[in-house]
Amino acid sequence: MRLLVNFSKKKGTAPIIAQAVKDTGVLINVERAVIDSSEGEALIEVPDDQCKLIRSTMTRLGATVRQLEHGIGVDMSECVDCGACISVCPREVFSFDADYKLVVAEDKCVLCGKCIPACPHKALSLPV
């Protein structure tokens, strides 16, 4: 399961992810992290059955945690199934089925957004 963890520096600079791993013993996979001067956001992958535990632990440590249900969004009314996105995605989210229709493996998506400017038809967008 993928969780989006937001942390604000106002609440201190504690190593929240490391602390959560230490406290729970759950192995967290950090898929993507953006950290700037005042806040940070990390996309982490945790085993489904330990999601609740990680969520409550991180919340207690001062982070805002939200479950990520959706990957990149594809507007099928704009998509023409060209495949421009396929080779640009670092996670191989996009592929063709036997009929050359675009297939999106949403669960693999880490919302990096690299595919968005690669789409000639503006069919791709990050979920809000």
Partner: protein
């Protein structure tokens, strides 16, 4: 055996014609043999759906009261050509909006019209005795226009080179997003479904031949611009009635960093009259090769990495130096199939009959590059031949003195062997002075990764290097990496008022 086009049209009329797509043909030929396929199949339909920048439409608005002779014309803020007398215009697909830039363009205007949306027409004129009106602003639907004739100067490329990028920088090109360090390959074209690939000698594709164009029945006007059949890159000029088209097969698009373009669906039906047609339409993806070209080199003649065929490109990855590099198509094979299938349906229903070209298209010519009488400025023309440099083992203090004395901000650093080793700027020296540490020689503080130029490089290319790297000077080096000059932002000033802008 030979089948006449009259026989084929008779069969189309009575509903007995056997029509297949170019994708189905190879299997039919291998099953029935060439003679058997000739007997069995009457028409092969082709199709392609991809970015075709050289597209647009002639529009006639009708006369206003009082009448205007439009001189400058905008449709939804996209400028259209105003040199066609009173109320005619040509709107080109790649023209960009004055306000929305690459987010909206001529292609979007055409897609909006075809989708039934209203479009704002704005025009100005100087006013004449016969056309007194000076300005007009109104909303128009496609149905309000007298004529809306799509006329595309260059469509249906026979094939198109695939693209790769060997530089360390992400490139945005008309061939899509090219990842650095040969990170991906992009290509375009329908391969075995491509119209001209199925009739490479253009026996049945020529003026007057009916085609599928963006969902409407259109026709071939003749050879397209940049038509280069001698090199395997034939093109077509085509036309069709915009009013009969559908947004399913006409889509505006934006190639990031390049601009607006239009995806066009185009298919040509080919009559199976003899064995030569059977052989040509049995073409498979693996039979069609294109060059894989390095778009990292910003030149007309880009280096070719290797030859690739459409079967490899469509497989999802091609091998380059022992590594599998993933591919992306920019055109839609699924849509190309739909074009060929719709065209097949039209012929099966008897709504479209075939016609032979009224004029043949040249099958031998090759395109030549622009005839440039005046060469654009090269680095040689504006670089500083007088410049100050420094050795890599000299002290930082010496560098500071040289910068002051030379009244420059950049010092190329020369290694003991006389070659360029790095560059130091006033910024590097200020930093070294502000944070005194172990650094004491130029070598310790110089930037070792230097972006350079050469004497023969076009100034426009050098300017892009400055912009992309956010720097203001380039050492000019010879082939042995000896510094022979400097090109700085100040030199670029020589371009203005100089002979190059005349």
């Amino acid at each position: 055996m030979h089948k006449s086009i009259e026989t084929i049209n008779e069969r189309i009329r009575d509903g007995s014609a056997r029509v297949v797509t170019a994708e189905e043909m190879p299997a039919i030929v291998s099953e029935l043999g060439e003679e058997g396929a000739l007997k069995e199949v009457d028409v092969v339909t082709t199709g392609t759906f991809g970015a075709m920048c050289s597209s647009g439409a002639f529009l006639n608005f009708g006369h206003s009261e009082p009448p205007i002779r439009m001189e400058r014309i905008w449709l939804n803020d996209v400028e259209a050509y105003g040199g066609l007398a009173a109320v005619d215009t040509y709107i080109g697909a790649t023209q960009q909006s004055d306000t929305l830039e690459d987010q909206y363009g001529g292609a979007h205007v055409l897609e909006d019209l075809v989708s039934g949306k209203s479009v704002e027409l704005r025009a100005t004129s100087r006013g004449t005795d016969c056309y007194p009106r000076r300005t007009i602003t109104t909303e128009l639907l496609l149905e309000d226009l007298n004529q809306a004739i799509m006329c595309n100067p260059r469509n249906a490329y026979q094939r198109y080179n695939a693209a790769i990028n060997t530089t360390d920088r992400l490139l945005h090109t008309y061939m899509g997003t090219l990842l650095p360090d040969s990170g991906n390959v992009t290509y375009s074209g329908a391969g075995l479904l491509n119209p001209i690939t199925n009739d490479p000698h253009l026996r049945f594709i020529g003026s007057g031949v009916p085609i599928f164009l963006c969902g409407a029945e259109g026709m071939v006007v003749g050879e397209g611009t940049q038509h280069s059949p001698g090199g395997g890159f034939a093109t077509l000029m085509v036309k069709g009635n915009l009013k009969e088209m559908t947004p399913d097969y006409l889509r505006a698009a934006t190639m990031t960093g390049y601009g607006v373009t239009m995806y066009v669906g185009l298919g040509v039906p080919l009559p199976v009259v003899d064995l030569d047609v059977v052989r040509a339409t049995a073409v498979r993806d693996e039979d069609i090769s294109v060059d894989l070209v390095d778009y990292g080199v910003p030149s007309r003649s880009r280096p070719v990495i290797r030859s690739v065929n459409y079967a490899e490109l469509r497989s999802g990855a091609v091998e380059i130096n022992g590594e599998q590099v993933r591919t992306s198509s920019l055109s839609s094979f699924r849509k190309a199939r739909q074009v060929a299938a719709e065209l097949k349906g039209w012929i099966e229903k008897g709504t479209l009959q075939l016609a032979l070209p009224t004029r043949p298209i040249d099958t031998t010519k090759t395109v030549h590059p622009m005839h440039e009488k005046k060469k654009g400025p090269r680095v040689l023309d504006i670089m500083d031949r007088q410049f100050v440099s420094i050795g890599e083992s000299e002290e930082i203090r010496a560098a500071a003195q040289k910068l002051l004395k030379g009244e420059t901000n950049h010092l190329p650093v020369i290694a003991d062997n006389g070659k360029l080793a790095g560059i130091v700027t006033t910024f590097d020296i200020s930093k070294a002075v502000a944070n005194p540490g172990k650094a004491c020689t130029v070598k310790d503080i110089m930037k070792k990764k230097v972006v350079t130029t050469t004497t023969e490089e076009a100034v426009d290319i050098a300017v892009r290097k400055l912009e992309q790297n956010n720097i203001s000077a380039l050492p000019v080096v010879d082939k042995d990496r000896h510094v022979i000059g400097m090109l700085t932002a100040i030199n670029l000033g020589k371009l203005f008022g100089g002979r190059w802008l005349k």
